[in-house]
Structures are given as structure tokens and as C-alpha cells.
């Protein structure tokens, strides 16, 4: 089945230690998104890629970076995690990024910062 895969499902890091979260997709979608979701709150969009074009949200901290080396993979890098960055990180994809497109989500990575 076509799907969105996130690894690892659970990640523990130390305060200030860089961490990378991974997302891959077999849907061959052009757009990939990263969301941050804290404790039963609404997901908050951090950034998205349309193909190789990177689109950052205005209020996304510089501490968060992303890479998309090819269509299938997208990475979220947190350069110096703080306690406030502990959250569920969700990756999603959509076919063309049109307003009517459905976004398909991965299972998420739960990040704990010690």
C-alpha cells in the first residue's frame, strides 16, 4: 500500500543536541509538509516543499531546518532542541499542493527532550 512513513516513531534527545527526523513516501506526491503538534493541540505547519522549492512559515523558528534530497524523502533537522520543542512531529504529503488536495499524514514521531 502507498503510504507515508516516519522514522523513528519515538526519539529521545538531550537539550541542545541536534536531532534529525525522517519521512518517506511511496505516493509519489510533489508536496511534503512538516507539522508540529503539541499535547492534543492542532497541528501547526512548520514548512513545506513543493518539489524542491522550500516554503517556510513566517513564525517557524530558525532552529528548525528541512531537507528534501529527492521526491521520496524529507528530513526535519532541529539544530539545538529546547524543552519547548518536545512534541509530535507529523509529516504529510499531497499530490500537487492545490487547495482541494487531500493531505496524507504519516504516523508521526514523538520527540522527547531531556
Amino acid at each position: 500500500d502507498a503510504m507515508v512513513i516516519q522514522n523513528p516513531r519515538y526519539q529521545v534527545t538531550q537539550f541542545g543536541k541536534p536531532v534529525t527526523l525522517s519521512c518517506s513516501q511511496t505516493l509519489n506526491h510533489n508536496v511534503m509538509y512538516w507539522y508540529q503538534q503539541k499535547s492534543s493541540q492542532a497541528p501547526k505547519l512548520l514548512f513545506h516543499y513543493y518539489d524542491k522549492d522550500f516554503n517556510n512559515e513566517a513564525d517557524t523558528p530558525d532552529n528548525f531546518q528541512s531537507r528534501r534530497p529527492n521526491t521520496s524523502f524529507c528530513f526535519l533537522d532541529i539544530r539545538s532542541p529546547g524543552l519547548g520543542d518536545a512534541a509530535m512531529y507529523l509529516c504529510a504529503t499531497s499530490r500537487e499542493g492545490q487547495n482541494t488536495d487531500t493531505q496524507y499524514f504519516g504516523p508521526g514521531t514523538r520527540l522527547t527532550v531531556l
Binding site: V4, Q6, V31, S40, Q41, A42, P43, L45, H48, Y50, N55, M88, L90, A92, S94, E96, G97, Q98, N99, T100, D101, T102, Q103, Y104, F105, G106, P107, G108, R110
Partner: protein, 115 residues
């Protein structure tokens, strides 16, 4: 700016009874509306969406939603609730023009279905 509101933090319903999870929206132009469900420690699963056409939209797992333009609402419904429907439900809206496919989510409604 677009927004959605889910006025109820939690909805409790007995198994077998009909359920409704409420959502109202505010957008410029025609709305594109979505419902997602999230089980504990899982990602969001798409249930259904309204783009245009019939006001009653049918989706996955027996869920449906009714688009009401005059009341700016898009309530999620199911005729007979199951205990396994217990989860967190999010309504979301996509902009009519510009902005790409950037969803704005509501704050979520926890549905609890009891025996």
C-alpha cells in the same frame, strides 16, 4: 484570514446513538473543508472533504458531514457510534485562493463513545 472553530472540547455519546461533532468556519470565498481523525500516538487519518456539489459528503468508516453555507458550518455525523470511534477529531479549512494547500486546523474535539 481563514479559521475554523470546534466549539466542543469533548463529546460523549453512548454506543449505538448518533453522534455529531461541530465545526464552523470563516473564510473569504468558497471554503474547502476537511475532517481528520487522530488516534492516540498516531498521525491524522483523512475522513472526508467538501469541495463543491452535494452538501452531504460521505466519507470513511460510516462518517458523513453536512456543509451548510448559511450557517457556515460543516458538522461531522455518524448515525450509530462505535466505541472504536473514540478519538480526537479535527476540522480543517484550505484557502480558496492563493496559499496553496495550507490547512488551518481547529483545536480538535475529543469524542468518547461509551458502552
Amino acid at each position: 484570514a481563514q479559521s475554523v472553530a470546534q466549539p466542543e472540547d469533548q463529546v460523549n455519546v453512548a454506543e449505538g446513538n448518533p453522534l455529531t461533532v461541530k465545526c464552523t468556519y470563516s473564510v473569504s470565498g468558497n471554503p474547502y473543508l476537511f475532517w481528520y481523525v487522530q488516534y492516540p500516538n498516531r498521525g491524522l487519518q483523512f475522513l472526508l472533504k467538501y469541495i463543491t456539489g452535494d452538501n452531504l459528503v460521505k466519507g470513511s468508516y460510516g462518517f458523513e458531514a453536512e456543509f451548510n453555507k448559511s450557517q457556515t458550518s460543516f458538522h461531522l455525523k455518524k448515525p450509530s457510534a462505535l466505541v472504536s470511534d473514540s478519538a480526537l477529531y479535527f476540522c480543517a479549512v484550505s484557502p480558496f485562493t492563493g496559499g496553496g494547500n495550507k490547512l488551518t486546523f481547529g483545536t480538535g474535539t475529543q469524542l468518547k463513545v461509551e458502552l
